[in-house]
C-alpha cells in the first residue's frame, strides 16, 4: 500500500511547465504523482496522451477506486474532483466546483494532507487563479513539504504568489530546481 504522494497543481501555462518537470523523473520513480490541471469540462482529457510519450514514468487518467502505485502520474479527469483515501485508493467526486474549478487543486491537496499527513509533497505551478494556496498551507500544517514555482519564472505568477503568501513555509524555486528536488525524493518514507 502506498500512503504517500507528490501532488501537483497547475493552471494557465501548465503544459509548458509540466513538460519541463515530468520528463525529468526517472523510470523507477518511487512516489506516485497526482496532478490537477485546470481544463475545460469536456468529456475527453488530452493530458495523459500528451505527456505519456514524453515521460519515463507511466502517465494515465485517475480512475475511481484505483490503488496508487509508485512511478505513475495520475491526472484528474475533466469535470471531476480527485481525492485520495487513507488506504491509498483514488476517489472521484462531482461535487460543486471550488473557486470555479472542477477539478480543484485545493480539494486534492486537502485530502492528501488529511490522508497521508507528513508524507506529502505539494507543488504549485503557474496559474492565474488562487486555487491551491489553501491546500498547500494544509499540507505544510500536516508536516508535509510545500513547494511553489518561483513566480518570476512562471508564465502566470498569480497562483504561486497566492500559495507563497498563504503558506510562508513553502519554498520557491525554478522548474529545473523543482525537477531535481522531485527526482531526488527518498526511496522510502517521507520527504
Amino acid at each position: 500500500m502506498t500512503n504517500r504522494a507528490v501532488v501537483i497543481g497547475a493552471s494557465a501555462g501548465a503544459i509548458e511547465a509540466l513538460s519541463k518537470l515530468l520528463p525529468a523523473l526517472p523510470a523507477k520513480y518511487p512516489w506516485p504523482i497526482l496532478l490537477v490541471v485546470h481544463v475545460p469540462p469536456d468529456t475527453r482529457s488530452a493530458l495523459p496522451e500528451l505527456f505519456a510519450p514524453k515521460c519515463r514514468i507511466a502517465v494515465k487518467e485517475a480512475e475511481d477506486k484505483e490503488k496508487l502505485r509508485p512511478g505513475v502520474a495520475y491526472f484528474a479527469p475533466p469535470n471531476y474532483h480527485l481525492l485520495v483515501e487513507t488506504d491509498g485508493a483514488l476517489a472521484l467526486s462531482s461535487e460543486e466546483p471550488e473557486l470555479f474549478s472542477r477539478p480543484s487543486i485545493n480539494v486534492l491537496f486537502d485530502s492528501a494532507a488529511d490522508a497521508f499527513g507528513s508524507d506529502v509533497v505539494g507543488v504549485i505551478l503557474t496559474g492565474a487563479s488562487a486555487d491551491g494556496a489553501e491546500g498547500l498551507r494544509k499540507i505544510r500544517a500536516a508536516g508535509g513539504m510545500a513547494l511553489a514555482q518561483d513566480p518570476k519564472t512562471a508564465q502566470c505568477p498569480a497562483m504561486p504568489e497566492a500559495a507563497l503568501a498563504a503558506c510562508p513555509g513553502a519554498r520557491a524555486m525554478g522548474l529545473a530546481e523543482l525537477a531535481a528536488l522531485l527526482a531526488s525524493l527518498p526511496e522510502e518514507g517521507a520527504a
Partner: protein
Amino acid sequence: MRSPQAETEDIELRLLLEAIFQKYHYDFRGYSMASLKRRLSQARERFGCDSFSKLQEKVLHDGATLPRLLSFLTVQVSEMFRDPAYFLCLRRQVIPHLKTYPSLKVWVAGCSTGEELYSLAILFREEGLENRTLFYATDINAASLETAQAGVYGLDRIALFTKNHRESGGKTSLSDYYTAAYGGAVFDKTLRERAVFSDHSLVSDSVFAEMQLVSCRNVLIYFNRELQDRAVGLFKDALVRKGFLGLGARESLRFSAQAGAFSDFARAERIYQKEGA
C-alpha cells in the same frame, strides 16, 4: 505519517455515521470517506460545531438536524443532459433496442433533484417511446425528491441545459418543455405523468420491478467497493436479460465484483448490457 488530529476526526466521523444509522436508519457507513469527510466538514462549519462529536450530539438530540444534514451527506449536483455524448448514445444505439419492447420500465437510481429524469422523459418523447414507458425516479433525500417532483429549475441554468440538449441530438427545442415563471423554468408536468418518485436506498432496499434501462450516474463514486458491488448487484437483478445500465462519465464496472454479469455496450459512454443468463 497522518496527523493525530486527522485520525481522531476519523474516529469521530465513524461514530457520527454509526449514530445516524442507529437512530435514523440512514446508512452512510459504506460511503467513500474522503469526499464524505469533506462534505461533513462543511456541515460542521454550517451548524457551528467545532468537532464531529458535537455534530453527533446535535444530530442525536435535535430531530431537525438530520434532514438538513442529508443535503451534506448526499451530493445533489446534477444538470439536464449532462455529458451529452451519453444521451446521444442512448438515442442512437440503445433506443433502437428499446423500441422492440411493447412496454418499458426505466429506473433513474439516485435521481437527486430530477434533472436526469426530465432529460430522459424528453428524449423518450422525442423518440416516440414515452407512452409505453414507466419511469421510476428514486433517491434517499426527501427534499431532493420534492424538488424533482416540482420540476422547477433556475433560469440561469437553462443556457447550459439547452446546449447539452442540442448536443445530445435533441429533435425539438428545449423551450418547448418549460415556461418561465417567478425566476424559474417550470417544466411541463406532462413530462412526469409517467414517472413515479420514491424513497429508495441502494444501501438497504431491494429490487422493486423489472427494468429495461437503469441510469445511475455519479452515484457509485460516493460508495466504497462493497457498496458499489451491492448497488450493481441490484441493477443486475432488476434488469431484464440484455437490459442496459448507464453510469457516469468516469464510472466503470472495472473494479466491480459484478463486472462479469455485464458486457461493454458503449465503452466511452459507459453504457453496459446485462449478459444473457
